[in-house]
Assembly symmetry: D2
């Protein structure tokens, strides 16, 4: 799997009265990361970018995230199941690890709206170095 | 026009690092007020509740709004144009006026997706005392 | 532990273009549930309500949540560690289980800003039927 | 006044069930624009960037904004009052004007927490071409 990283600039309204970025904003950021990662895999298959549902998300808030400094979100792993894709993510602010996330997405058949087997070219990309 | 009031309980994640409710959260609350007000007018005409677009919104932040105390949002006026509806709103926290809002919505024909004349029964409700 | 339930009315702006409530909005709702649950435990000890940080959150999206119908969020379990509190939650929309959540919070000493032992009266409440 | 423009990439969770970006998300984007604009004026006076409250905001939703295409937000005017600053903004998606915004901010004295006269160097910057 290729290294996949995006930069997120915290927004003031994403802070809360504790003076840091609220946990729900970070859950929202994780959606950006996942979607862009899948988009990057989709390549010449645009349909691939959209037919997913989120089955579960797990977020460890390792350290506080603050307004004023960019956050680097990196996909640290991605594993294909039969119809599911597990995406691991780490966020750093400066040198500090602030967030570890894990999401499980399910690939849906556009017609039947039922879980479908992940396309082979996506599996290959995940296995490629 | 009948008095129309709803209660909004501020949520912690709606605060920002200044320790008060963020202005964008208040813009979002105003959507709740407008939608529930229009729903209350729609009565036996459910289609009426949904075919609107927001043309403009104006919000005066008269005083800060804080977490921990309910907000009362009241529609203080509503005026029908040909295809537009102007909704005025005031929010109070405790005795204090905190927000004054004005929104202009446009009624859309469901088929043509073009602005349409407001239904007469809605005009009558707005004129009724 | 007493049964603890709150009702959440989905807001239109919490939907996304897939036509359902976005996962980040549900992560945000879970904060409401946790905070109100802890507030209910705090009772005569108001300080108890505030000195917490969120260590991790896990959310299973069992079924889609839609705009237009209230959601019932129930705390189905709460377990005290030394300085941590694990809160389990289920959300239903109508009869349907839509969300299962688990959050781990850490109790912080207000002065030292370090994790502190959970107060005994809170432990007792969690053990009481 | 120098031309001031930023680019905003719409996020999926900022859409709503109507399939476009929700109005409250656009109100939130406007905060990003204002804050970055003021930051750009503050230059060597970091305190200047933070001591502001939002008095009012007016947003015209000229056309729908969609997910998938960057938005360009440009400050089209800024006028200094005694202690107030009015900021005008236009957002375009592609070639299309989608949003016109106007915000009135008040400059606050950090000590007294009362409105204060805008610093002269800020006035000069706004007058400079």
């Amino acid at each position: 799997m290729q290294n996949f990283t995006i930069t997120i600039e915290p927004r003031f309204y994403e802070t809360d009265a504790l003076g840091h970025i609220n946990n729900a904003s970070i859950a929202a950021w994780f959606e950006i990361v996942r979607m862009k990662f899948i988009e990057s895999l989709a390549g010449s298959d645009p349909a691939l970018a959209v037919h997913w549902i989120l089955a579960s998300v797990q977020i460890d808030f390792v350290a506080e995230t603050f307004f004023g400094t960019d956050v680097t979100a990196r996909v640290t792993g991605a594993k294909a199941g039969n119809s599911s894709l597990t995406v691991l993510c780490e966020m750093h602010q400066g040198e500090k690890l602030t967030v570890k996330g894990k999401a499980v997405l399910v690939y849906m058949d556009a017609q039947t709206k039922a879980p479908a087997r992940l396309p082979d070219h996506l599996r290959e990309q995940l296995l490629a170095d």
